[in-house]
Symmetry: C2
Subunit: 121 residues, 2 copies
Amino acid sequence: MGEQAINLRGKFDLINEQWSPRVIAQMNDYQFKLVRIQGEFIWHDHPETDETFLVLEGRLRIDFEDGSVELGAGELYVVPKGRRHKPSACEEAKVLLIEPRGVLNTGREGGARTAQNDVWI
Amino acid sequence: MGEQAINLRGKFDLINEQWSPRVIAQMNDYQFKLVRIQGEFIWHDHPETDETFLVLEGRLRIDFEDGSVELGAGELYVVPKGRRHKPSACEEAKVLLIEPRGVLNTGREGGARTAQNDVWI
């Protein structure tokens, strides 16, 4: 009896919007989310948790108040809890986010860029 | 001031042994571990936690007592807490494991295949 693995490219094909994380799997109380990123996001932080970015395609930049990091495909970065950051990408980047269930994309900033949370594909 | 992303391929180049997970990053109390897998592992389970496998290169098979799943590159699977499983790979597979810090590769089975835990590269 074969079970189905979760194919990341196949799941990305189901996502049309940018900046709208979609949940593909859950491990304990953590979720794996796919998101298409292009342009600049807002400055925000997550006071309660670290947040992991793993770039699958394209390039992602994360600005901090005192520096920045650039991630290419196959690169990972953990943004520490409470550290203000601003993701951006010139061309579209496909990113796997890993963080506890319930974390909003805009952290405690809120506002117009806040995506609906906990949407599975 | 540029910070350094964690390059998964670069980290794999530092790992010579198979079945020896190496920690590359931590998010809260969860760790990201890289492991080279070839041949058959032992049956085991992790009674306290789910465990995530993301295949980066090659193919991984996970047998369960009532089925199996096959993962190719870019595919992910979460083994539920307490479910007995046996990973295997004909050719070498490069795998990213995600699980809480402190989880042993052999779960509660122990024995000769138990790798040293919490080794960073």
